[in-house]
């Protein structure tokens, strides 16, 4: 189990001579949390996720996963949900979700009964077992998003990295997806990190919020303390209003 993630003086740029996409980021992330990364397009949200995935190698600085079971770093499972994912060929929902078990299946082997069982349980838990034989290409946007969430849950990762999971969803699907992340994903002291540009998504489910602007961390902390007018304005570079409607905090942009 991951105890915490230590990020120290993280810098990243895609090419020498270009400006830094991530500029001097230092964070300590404790487990058992849901973190929303808030920021405009191009603020470095996705790049930060990809450095955590170890897909991108930091230009300088370090990312350390501190874990209790003294697992080798390579054994730490990190699930990644890209914003846009091309799923080629006519895989069925079940076949695709089962691919989440890739790390648990040995080379030259096929999935075991246990892998199939776990896949079935997750499909049931997300109430999508009725579509298990449907082709991915025949799903609606909301259905596809749930199937992709099922795939990442089948991986049973220590850290979930979700890039704009609620983007392009209608209101009902958005609510349902956020509640899946909150109630079903963050179990057993896992770390869930998702990006969004809607502060209301963060208010709805995030325990902590990371505000980013042009590769720099504006602020990181508990959601309630972070959601302040001046901090959000600094993050999004537009006038912002925070209002209470029937006891619920709502964040609005000023027109």
């Amino acid at each position: 189990m991951i105890q915490n993630i230590d990020i120290k003086k993280l810098h990243f740029r895609y090419r020498i001579n270009e400006s830094f996409v991530l500029n001097d980021i230092s964070l300590e992330i404790q487990n058992d949390t849901i973190i929303a990364i808030l920021g405009n397009n191009g603020s470095g949200k996705t790049t930060l996720l990809l450095t955590l995935l170890k897909r991108l190698i930091p230009t300088s600085g370090t990312i350390d996963f501190v874990n209790i079971d003294k697992k080798n770093e390579n054994e730490i499972r990190i699930g990644y949900l890209p914003q846009i994912e091309k799923i080629p060929f006519g895989f069925t929902v079940e076949e695709y979700v089962l691919l989440g078990r890739f790390q648990q299946v040995n080379m030259f082997h096929i999935p075991s009964k246990n892998d199939l069982k776990i896949t079935q349980e997750i499909l049931k838990e997300l109430e999508i077992e009725w579509m298990q034989y449907k082709k991915i290409s025949d799903l609606s946007g909301g259905e596809l998003q749930k199937v992709r969430i099922a795939r990442i849950m089948a991986q049973e990762p220590d850290i979930f990295l979700l890039d704009e999971p609620a983007n392009h969803l209608d209101l009902q699907n958005r609510r349902e997806l956020l509640s899946i992340i909150q109630k079903k994903m963050k179990k057993n002291k896992k770390i869930v990190i998702f990006t969004t540009h809607d502060p209301n998504d963060a208010l709805a489910i995030a325990k902590q919020v990371l505000l980013m602007n042009k590769g720099i961390v504006i602020q990181f902390g508990e959601t309630k303390t972070i959601m302040q007018k001046d901090l959000l304005q600094k993050t999004f570079e537009i006038p912002i209003q925070i209002q209470k409607i029937e006891g619920k905090t709502v964040i609005l942009t000023e027109n």
């Binding site: 897909r55 091309k86 080629p88 060929f89 890739f102």
Partner: protein, 319 residues
């Protein structure tokens, strides 16, 4: 499916122009030693060669499609066939028909071509990765096709040239046990490796970052399975010449009937690819008194099937 393949092979053994046109009566086989030796020494190795050819080209086409997540990738389109063909022709021109050298040369240029496709598809930067790969494949296959052209020009017009030309059209007429047997182990091993890989290969087709997070992004694994696919293509190309379209059509046909995942598709591709190739080759040797090159049949039927599959929306090229 296996029964289907066995039936096709069974029929093919008795179909031919000797001792009687079209069908060989079993009674004659007992009486005619020439017919016996014809079946054992000519027809049987040829049919086995066709079985291995169809299974190998079908499987390597499927591997290329999964590894490049591109439904229309295959040895012909990526230039691997042409490169292996060039390698084999080069060895023929330089040394004559020495099986080992033809083999190694075909494999070497096959690997070279897939590396070139990798590099070129990074240099060509359109928005669409499938287009990038196809363009890279067109360039690579053009290079090796013109290389083949040069070899034809240089070849001895009386002996080597007719050999090369007929062989380039794809043809199994010169197959003997002596030429086929040394190739069988590596082809069988290649097929077994791909079969053992039938589930994990699915993950290679996923989004790059997703595959990486699943631990399937390791370059080694992808390169290894691509190497096996090139090995299969080079091995069969070195005895059969350029037989096109099987690697493109059979996997796509199987995908629409049996499903995409390798567990279902790979056994089906082996059986149907083999049955299809044996059928085409049987037609090629029996239809007229002479010999029609096998590649002509597979290309004619393949082109028609491609139009049907794409036209009916069975092959979808997403991006």
């Amino acid at each position: 499916m296996f029964a289907f393949l066995v039936t096709i092979v069974g029929i093919s053994i008795f179909v031919g122009r000797y001792p009687k046109p079209v069908f060989t009566p079993i009674r004659l086989l007992w009486e005619d030693p020439l017919a016996q030796s014809l079946i054992l020494d000519i027809r049987l190795p040829r049919i086995l060669a066709a079985v291995l050819l169809g299974a190998s080209l079908g499987l390597s086409g499927y591997v290329f499609q999964m590894a490049f997540s591109n439904p229309i990738a295959d040895g012909g389109i990526l230039g691997v066939n042409q490169a292996a063909g060039f390698g084999a022709a080069l060895a023929i021109v330089m040394n004559g028909y020495l099986s080992m050298q033809v083999q190694i040369s075909a494999l070497f240029f096959g690997i070279l071509s897939i590396l070139l496709v990798f590099i070129l598809s990074r240099i060509i930067k359109t928005e669409n990765t499938i287009i990038n790969q196809i363009l890279a494949g067109i360039a690579v296959s053009a290079v090796f096709s013109s290389g083949i052209g040069i070899l034809k020009y240089l070849a001895d017009p009386l002996q080597e040239l007719p050999n090369i030309v007929f062989w380039l059209l794809g043809d199994l007429s010169s197959i003997t046990w002596e030429r086929l047997i040394p190739l069988i182990p590596q082809i069988v091993i290649g097929i077994i490796i791909i079969w053992a890989y039938r589930w994990r290969i699915n993950a290679l087709s996923l989004d790059e970052n997703v595959a990486f997070s699943l631990g399937a992004g390791k370059k080694f694994e992808k390169y290894f399975i691509l190497f096996v696919a090139v090995l299969l293509t080079a091995s069969v190309t070195s005895y059969a010449g350029l037989v096109g379209w099987i690697g493109l059509i059979i996997p796509n046909l199987v995908r629409t009937i049996f499903g995409t995942t390798g567990q279902k598709a790979i056994p089906a591709i082996m059986m149907i690819g083999a049955a299809y190739t044996v059928s085409c080759d049987t037609l090629a040797r029996t239809l007229i008194a002479g010999e029609i090159p096998l590649g002509i049949f597979t290309a004619l039927i393949g082109a028609m099937m491609l139009v049907i599959l794409v036209g009916s929306g069975k092959i979808k090229i997403h991006e």
